[in-house]
Amino acid sequence: MAELRATLERFQLRVNDNARVRALITGWDRTLVVRGTGPEDALAVRFEGGLVRDLRPAMADEKAEVILHAETRVLCDVFTGVANPAQEFLEGTLQVFASDRDQVKLDAIALILWD
């Protein structure tokens, strides 16, 4: 939990500091639930008003527009830019449950931040 939370907090700072990403997510008000393999590795991230507003533990039955499932290690790599999310997705190690548009939007954030 602690490692994933620390990773997502850094991600939140990075997103909110990046003008291009803020432009990309303006109007994209979504809740992203990130579920790792640890018993408490489930966090909800709220994108709203062009910023990452909120980071909190996710409920067991939390509903969200975007849900990510993976081993906690993979999630940490993805949210720190070490791993390419598209590659992890195509390898089947990162599961993404969202509409096509939301999936591309999420990957585009990674693309701008780290590529």
Binding site: I67, L90, I112
Partner: protein, 447 residues
């Protein structure tokens, strides 16, 4: 994280509707018309049944693969784990060529139907306009609500079945199968037509990446696929049976649904079936093209395609590089098939490619059971492995056979098919041999 039973049912219905909508295409009706040239009556129904049952066996295997890799784009992920990067990429690139070719024939057969109502429509320019419009919709990032897909598909199914049964009620049973087939139905002809009929069911597997949660892969998606195929069997079987006696109407040779419309409702019936053609094209393009462009975008992001495929709009977040690539391919295919009058050839090539890909899915299921026996599978195909391999061999056979559907087009069909296969294989080899992305190179150090 369990969903309520109402939400679960709603998701299941959406998956069934999407799978049915993907399969019911204008080019499918044309393929049925083509099949009716070779077989009629019970033989034709037998070929439809053989194709449908083969696809049902396949759907259980695809369900198992989807359960192993929830949300993943099947062709790239399943086949990579089973056969390696190059083979999987070759088949993925072959699928992209199929999307372009398919879009061109779909637009052609839709316009052939639409010209029954608007005869002054220019096939070339209207086709260009349709492809550009689909491209624009994808660029803007518009996604039709899933409920709309369900509603359109339900109307389409009801209208096709309703017109078919109305036509059957009008005709006496003795008229069914009254047209003697042009050649005696041999086993070879039966296999050829069955291969063509597979094309009538294709596209159902696109739902594997549409699950809302991991729970979707336990039963909803694996069951939605065979259920959608059963619905398709009823729709296509009814259409094939009812339009069988109408083949003498040469005007509608490749549009059996329009022949039914004319028989049941006269000009108004034709107009209804033209609307059904429009609905068929919308449901196919709505679910298919955005999914294909997202897959091309992801493949480009892992440096397995040209870099322009990974370009994304900073404002809208839409993968415009992938959308332009696929739309450009569709426009090129449209221009070429229009100039060469090669729609029949292209349609047969699409059917052959689908059979080949389906064969690979079946072999992949059995192979992954051997390679990864301990991997968690929340759904497992109840079909014995030997049956899956037998059906895989059948699909491979049908892939070759379908190219011989029209004896005048054999050399052209084989040439285009081989060009697509060899071209995809060479491109895959090139992309795999390129240096990995800098971040991919970092990965071993991070773990």
């Amino acid at each position: 994280m369990r969903m309520s039973s109402a939400a679960s049912r709603s998701e299941f219905v959406e998956h069934v509707a999407t799978a049915v909508g993907m399969a019911l295409a204008c080019s499918g009706y044309a393929m049925l018309g083509e099949s009716q040239r070779l077989l009629s009556g019970g033989w034709l129904l037998g070929a439809v049944l053989a194709a449908g049952l083969s696809c049902i066996v396949l759907s259980f295997s695809v369900g198992e693969l989807a359960a192993m890799f929830p949300s993943a784009p099947g062709i790239r992920t399943y086949l990579r784990h089973a056969f390696g990067d190059t083979a999987s990429l070759a088949l993925t690139l072959l699928l992209f060529s199929l999307v372009g070719l398919f879009a061109s024939v779909e637009v052609h057969y839709f316009l052939a139907a639409a010209r029954e109502v608007l005869p002054e429509l220019s096939e070339f320019w209207t086709g260009v306009a349709v492809i550009v419009m689909v491209c624009a919709v994808n660029l803007v990032g518009l996604e039709a609500p899933r409920r709309m897909q369900v509603a359109i598909t339900a109307l389409l199914v009801l209208s096709l079945v309703g017109f078919s049964w109305a036509a059957l009620a009008q005709s006496d049973s003795a008229s069914l199968g009254r047209n003697a087939p042009p050649v005696p139905p041999s086993l070879a002809t039966f296999v050829i037509v069955s291969g063509g009929c597979v094309f009538l069911f294709t596209g159902f597997e696109w739902v594997t990446s549409m699950g809302r949660s991991p729970e979707s892969y336990r039963a909803r998606i694996p069951v939605a696929m065979p259920v959608s195929l059963c619905v398709l069997l009823v729709v296509i079987g009814s259409l094939a049976w009812a339009s069988d006696g109408l083949r003498s109407e040469a005007r509608y040779a490749l549009m059996p649904h329009l022949a039914l419309g004319a028989r049941v409702g006269g000009p108004l019936g034709v107009q209804c079936m033209v609307m059904a053609s429009l609905a068929s094209m919308i449901t196919t393009f709505n679910a298919g093209l955005m999914g294909a462009s997202r897959l091309l975008y992801a493949v480009s992001r892992e440096r397995r395609f040209f870099e322009w495929g990974a370009r994304v709009s900073a404002r809208r977040g839409t993968p415009y590089g992938a959308v332009f690539s696929l739309s450009g391919l569709a426009l090129m295919a449209h221009a070429l098939t229009h100039a060469l009058h090669a729609h029949g050839t292209v349609e047969l090539v699409c059917a052959a490619i689908y059979c080949l890909v389906y064969s690979a899915f079946l072999v992949a299921t059995v192979r992954l059971r051997q390679l990864r026996p301990g991997s968690p599978r929340v759904f497992r195909s109840p079909i014995p492995a030997w049956v899956q391999l037998l059906v895989a061999a059948l699909f491979a056979l049908m892939s070759c056979a379908v190219l011989a559907t029209d004896i005048r087009l054999v050399s052209a069909s084989v040439s285009v098919f081989m060009a697509a296969v060899v071209g995809s294989a060479l491109l895959a080899r090139y992309f795999v041999q390129r240096a990995p992305s800098p971040r991919a190179a970092l990965r071993p150090q991070s773990s």
